[in-house]
Symmetry: D2
Subunit: 148 residues, 4 copies
């Protein structure tokens, strides 16, 4: 099985909030850009099948370590945790670097529903999409709170 | 048992993304303001016990209906779903209005750890905090994806 | 001459940056919402002539006092400083309250070009638009730096 | 005289607004990051003299061309337009690339006042700061609207 896709995502100074750490909501913003960039790698350049063909149905995120602004990008590891006929789920880690032992700042999952932005209706997964996604599938990240 | 606290939260035009709907990440931004405003109601005006004494440890959110910008605020219903000696969890619904039958745009939960921003260390729940929070406790929102 | 339109604009906790003051860029975000809300007052409810028919061509803003997050909205005073056949300029003050003697946190102007979002082309001012805008015209705000 | 410092600044998908172009306010956000990155080049790594020792007193920006999201960074050209005993002004162009003939999306200036964040008081320019800034000085960008 291939490892996860790694996407460098630059921080912005404004990602910090009044506590001078990257704000918890901004972690989801970083994941948004990781998807935009990662989907190009998975599905080819825009107009990609998925860049314009999915809607977010859910997020789950767990924060593991505080993150301060720095000029070096964080690294988002991104993979597929499951697929269905009408959508799929992405798993992520936000890590300090590409080093496998790097600090992980957060783990998360995002549920996506396939959507046709022309007809404004849900759509079914194509065989080509399924082939790509199944090649990227691995177990979901471990959420600590569920283990308690 | 009392009902949830209802907090009107105004939208901004910029909450919309390139699809001309309120962006999924911005829903978490709306919940952040609901906490800031709701905590004043729960714990009194600033410097409140909690406004400056918690850190977010996790979020879970499920999107139920698209939301477009409008000048009328959305209404966040907000309550406590569980407490522990070192933190608590908030449940929310983002609703169209205070009408109990209003459209619900999203349901969510946020895990919070009690934190002392002076010593920069975790802290334990005070009896006064526990009394407030237990009076606000109700079952968590129902997440559809878990029922599948 | 009528006084300026006053638009209450709520702050968000996230408007603060790592210095724990409302970030300078967010002042422009507040003015964006003041325009959206103020234009309804000037031109009627959406789809308004202008809400969907202008593009921003320039901003100028001068910061006069630091602003901290609070739950009470700031008040944006907003008027027209000049018109042309293809656009107009708005003047603003961001004030602490509707009291004429309230602290002014910033003064600003925004240049707007009339635009037809259907044909994606610049357009000319209609007589109805001109009548509205000329009734709102007053001298521009005073920028201190220009006086040096 | 040396040319302006060129700072690549990545866009985010969320920089686009409901019109599917980079929102006018976000241009100022891009300039904020250009300053953070450019000041390191001018004054050395953090804690830099200026990264933590200035406050924004004014902005002026003129929009010249619409900008759409793309994965390639924009290039901010950044220089000093004037200095005083208590502050200085930066001039910028937001360009499509490092090519001197590249499309310029906006020109802008930012006024900065020197500030001591320890004493929370204005401060005077040090000889070392003056030496750096004077080596970076060039005429301000041309604003079209002033030429009318």
């Amino acid at each position: 099985m291939p490892g996860p896709t790694t996407v460098p995502v630059p921080l912005r100074w404004s990602d910090m909030d009044a506590y001078a750490h990257v704000n918890n909501v901004q972690y989801l913003r970083l994941l948004e850009d990781a998807r935009v960039l990662g989907f190009r790698e998975w599905f080819g350049p825009s107009p990609s099948m998925l860049d314009e063909g999915v809607v977010v149905t859910r997020h789950e995120i767990e924060y593991l370590a505080p993150l301060e602004y720095r000029s070096a990008p964080v690294v988002v590891r991104m993979w597929v945790t499951c697929t269905s006929p009408t959508g799929f789920t992405i798993g992520y880690q936000i890590a300090d670097s590409t080093d496998p032992a790097a600090i992980v700042y957060a783990v998360a999952t995002t549920g996506l529903a396939l959507f046709d932005f022309t007809s404004l209706r849900p759509r079914r997964m194509s065989p080509a999409e399924r082939a790509v996604l199944e090649g990227l599938t691995a177990p979901p990240p471990t959420f600590r709170w569920r283990e308690r």
